[in-house]
Symmetry: C2
Subunit: 339 residues, 2 copies
DNA sequence: AGCGGGAATGCATAGGATTGCAAAAATCCG
DNA sequence: CGGATTTTTGCAATCCTATGCATTCCCGCT
């Protein structure tokens, strides 16, 4: 097997007739090198095809410039889109992303986090994944900041970035009430997750403020198949809701399919449907889903900021909550315009 | 700023009363350590919370156990799904994924690849991204194997894994002809990409074998908006196709939306639509898309195998092409069952 | 008891870069 | 032009682990 003798800074140094330090310095922004040596080094590096070894650099500086991303699943389009933005934003800051897919379980997450710690990532971003206290402590002890994306957390040691799910839920309640709906069901997101809980909470509160109660609230565990099953169950009875707020868009599509194709109801004339996220598919004509937009760009920006702050500035963790607007489309009856 | 003094193998060695080598050996599978020292070391490591530093290990072994993934965009659900599978499969083999999102351009791809080379990744997997000859040569010189996922390549130095797009295209042609369609359009994938070309080629050949010609073939550049525009253009004329084969599912959805909601045609009674990929959305009732399945699992398995072979075995690059079945659903008129 | 051989251990080096420190060179300024 | 700075430069130590080699240990066998 052919060994590819990597060209090192020493090789470059020899060829350029300078010390190895000089080479290092030409490739370190802000280091002190004269124009002449820099040119010599650059020439030699070019000739030899030299590029600094990031791993060696990471070893000595103690920064890998790698961010670990832990994400549970990508079927819900919200995450791929967010990851895409996140990756781009981090690249602009000179960071790279080591990605891990995992189940949101008590056995897999620690395993994955250990792998990340082994790679001495500079920070960990979790998306749709919760961290146990134990794990949090472990990262904290290792001095590795954790930022949770789209999942809140009471633990003060962890930064989190979410949209304002409570007010989002409340907005949905108000919108549906304004549309004259009487019997509003909620197929809620996973009640073990902060997003699921908060959206449900805001929604129920919103109804309560107007003296109303939800027709029913059920936990879908963020599983579209489960959501479908629940839809069939709830809507095939005689006394059925006239509107449903679904915990996220991805499930809302499944719900709409079930309503239209399994049960034969029409949206929105028979039932109004509202989702949460505003993923790209929501604007597709087949669904045209009214939903709360999660401001992905702002959320990503906040995440990157939180990450960088903690890595470079040593700033304390913070909890960011960004409000998102209601996007009115055709899947839910609209309120009469009151003059 | 507090320095988190990382615990090193030396610390563990001291505490366990053994040499640093012994520590290293306990954490290296297959190395020669007695049960007694192993236990002492494990105990000490546990106490101190020691975990071997992957970066240091990578430096000395020359393997980072990191695979670089370059992918152009994640809106097309085919890629997130594939990435998810890929990540899991690689993890099982002890590899991790450094992910890069890029445009499929001549300026960005080299930039990204350089970043990857800097991290001394063990291999590069590209998804929906083409590599210039120059770049290929560069990776080759660095001894880093490249595997292209879902994109073919003439260059023998690169492994590629695709489905059999030519035969897939042909199958579509046959299916639509068997369904009695007379005027079949093709809103093709990007003709600069092998997938786009091959699917179009197989389709046109398939028609030709039965003495037919496509109604029209246009290049959508894999852009759903462009596909929509083309759909409106093609189908709003008097003399319109009675079927359309779309270059991938993601565009097929856009096409169906345009047909139904912009033009007011019905699928499949007015127009049959066939896609390519069989992403999860295709089976959603709202689209119920007839399509060619890309066998993601097999493709991922082949990709992982190709990667590992080249890293560990030094096997030569190879081109893998896996056939995928036609999945018949409701978006295209079905052939009469001939007794 | 003595010997042979495999297993276990430790020593020391390597891997490729960054960086504090001190020496050398270049620059400034009166 | 000489001394005082400032800028460049090189030396050498450091980051953390893997591993070839030499040595020691242990065990079984005659």
């Amino acid at each position: 097997m052919r060994r590819h003798d990597n060209v090192t800074s020493l090789d470059v140094a020899r060829r350029a007739g300078v010390s190895q330090s000089a080479v290092s310095r030409t490739f370190t922004p802000g280091a002190s090198v004269s124009k002449r040596t820099r040119e010599k080094v650059e020439k030699a590096a070019e000739d030899l095809g030299y590029r600094p070894n990031s791993l060696a650099r990471a070893m000595i500086t103690g920064r890998s410039r790698i961010i670990g991303l832990v994400v549970a699943y990508l079927e819900n389009q919200f995450y791929p889109v967010a990851i895409e933005r996140l990756s781009r934003a981090l690249k602009d800051e000179g960071y790279h992303m080591l990605i891990f897919l995992t189940e949101n379980s008590d056995t897999m997450v620690p395993e994955v986090v250990n792998d990340l710690l082994d790679y001495r990532v500079d920070a960990i971003v979790t998306a749709s994944v919760a961290m146990s206290d134990e794990l949090t402590a472990q990262c904290d002890a290792a001095g590795i900041p954790v930022v949770m994306f789209n999942r809140g957390q009471d633990d003060e040691r962890i930064s989190s970035v979410t949209s304002d799910n409570v007010s989002g839920g409340r907005d949905v309640a108000n919108f549906l009430l304004a549309g004259g709906h009487q019997r509003i069901a909620h197929i809620a997101g996973w009640q073990e997750s902060s997003t699921g809980r908060d959206r449900a909470k805001g929604f129920v509160e919103g109804l309560a403020e107007r003296g109303e109660e939800p027709f029913i609230v059920v936990d879908s565990h963020y599983d579209p198949n489960e959501a479908k099953r629940l839809t069939r169950e709830i809507f095939s009875k005689q006394d059925r809701p006239d509107a449903v707020f679904v915990g996220n868009d991805h499930m809302a599509f499944a719900v709409m399919d079930a309503l239209r194709f399994d049960i034969g109801l029409r949206v929105p004339s028979d039932v109004s449907v509202v989702g949460y996220d505003d993923v790209p598919i929501s604007s597709w004509a087949a669904y045209d889903l009214t939903t709360i937009r999660q401001p992905v760009n702002q959320m990503v920006a906040a995440t990157v900021e939180a990450v960088i702050d903690r890595i470079e500035g040593g700033i304390q963790p913070k909890q960011v909550r960004i409000p998102g607007p209601l996007i009115v489309r055709g899947s839910a009856r609209k309120p009469e315009i009151s003059s």
